[in-house]
């Protein structure tokens, strides 16, 4: 329920069907614009994870790979946290990646 002040100012809560329309549209248009069927998109995400897992250990429970619109340009935005490095591992970017412990096992966790 909007408060009295909100009603006086003509404001209503963001629960109307208008905001639902906006959310739905944003989702629909992102897929319209990239023109990639959902199953191909899922396959791409899995492959991205697999490649990254080859080099570092990925915290696969917190992976977030999603499509985003920046103005009219669709982009894939990925947040792929690594597992905390154990003693001796050096996270320095300049060094060549060390062989991961078990890359495929990690990649397979996330379809």
């Amino acid at each position: 329920m909007p408060s009295l002040i909100d009603r006086m100012l003509g404001r209503t809560s963001k629960t109307g069907t208008g905001s639902k329309a906006k959310e739905r549209l944003q989702f629909i248009l992102i897929h319209d614009r990239i023109n990639l069927p959902p199953e191909r998109l899922e396959a791409m995400k899995a492959e991205i994870l697999q490649v990254i897992s080859k080099y570092v250990s990925v915290d696969s429970s917190n992976v977030d790979i999603a499509l985003q619109n920046r103005e009219r340009t669709p982009a894939i935005v990925a947040e792929i946290p690594f597992n905390k490095t154990v003693e001796g591992d050096d996270p320095d970017e300049d060094e060549p990646p060390k062989p991961p412990k078990s890359p495929l096992k990690d990649a397979e966790k996330k379809p």
């Binding site: 003509g10 629960t15 069907t17 208008g18 549209l25 629909i28 248009l29 319209d32 614009r33 009219r72």
Partner: protein, 286 residues
């Protein structure tokens, strides 16, 4: 065969008119029924009332309607396809409006289909008209096929009409994508049939929502106005009359097309803050 480019120079020209030839503006939408033709007619009338030389072209071959909205349906002798197929001169297909002598209509053929005209034909016709007008307004058919490509081919500027509804906005997005792919200038948006009261209740996409989603610039917000229908009924587009809210919105679009910086109308007129306060304290008259 081009019209002699010097023809425009033989007549006295008021200062505001274009010296370099007409701007070709195509009104499109993707989805049908959002008010494209009505919008084109009203912008044409509004521009002509602002002393611009305007020619409206109905590119909806097979489903012509602009003539009816303009109240010119009884004066059609030749149409766009007659011009393209050489049965008449371009001039002969141009119907002059009686009240606004600087406003012309080139009607679509009713018994043919979109393939009777090609994008190249449209470019050629627009180029012939350019020296004599300030604005060439093309009413595009719904859809993304041949008729759309015809209407957009000669456009310097594209106006996309949409309603604050999911399906209309989605189709507008598709059109924007197609225009981007064709390398056209960024189109402008006309949000038509906006219901202030519903937006206020959160039950309708607001102009901000729609521009957020589509990421193109607005050139007009036209409020839902029953007098638009009455005006179309009588073949006198609303923009002929002063005082209506939609009419003012069309005039503002015309001014913006002419390069003027006109602020957007307050959408709150119907149910503004003051009125609500009055209602709250028992006042009935807004």
């Amino acid at each position: 065969m081009g019209v002699n480019g010097g023809a425009a120079g033989t007549r006295p020209q008021p200062p505001k008119k274009s010296a370099t030839g007409a701007k070709v503006v195509t009104v499109t939408s993707g989805k049908g029924g959002v008010g494209k033709t009505t919008t084109a007619a009203n912008i044409g009338v509004a521009l002509a009332r602002l002393d611009q030389r305007v020619v409206l072209i109905d590119a909806d071959i097979g489903l012509r309607n602009l003539d009816i909205i303009m109240g010119l349906e009884n004066r059609i002798v030749y149409d766009l396809v007659d011009v393209v197929e050489g049965r008449c001169k371009l001039r002969q297909a141009m119907i002059k409006h009686k009240q606004l002598p600087e406003l012309y209509l080139i009607p679509a053929a009713q018994t043919r289909d979109k393939t009777a005209v090609s994008p190249a034909d449209m470019v050629k016709i627009a180029d012939q008209l350019r020296p004599e007008f300030d604005f060439i307004l093309i009413d595009c058919p719904a859809g993304i096929e041949r008729g759309f490509r015809n209407a957009v081919a000669p456009a310097d500027e594209v106006l996309i009409v949409t309603n604050p509804e999911v399906s209309a906005v989605r189709d507008a997005d598709r059109i924007i994508g197609l225009l981007e792919a064709e390398g056209k200038n960024a189109p402008h948006l006309i949000l038509n049939r906006v219901k202030t009261e519903m937006i206020r209740k959160g039950e309708m996409l607001s102009p901000e929502d729609v521009t957020d989603i589509l990421a193109i610039k607005l050139i007009g917000i036209v409020p839902e106005d029953e007098s638009v229908v009455s005006a179309s009924n009588s073949g006198t587009p609303l923009a002929f009359l002063d005082g209506s809210r939609a009419g003012t919105a069309y005039r503002n679009i015309a001014l913006r097309l002419m390069g003027e910086n006109v602020p957007f109308m307050q959408l709150e007129d119907n149910s503004g803050f003051l009125k609500r306060i009055q209602r709250l304290f028992g006042g009935q008259n807004g």
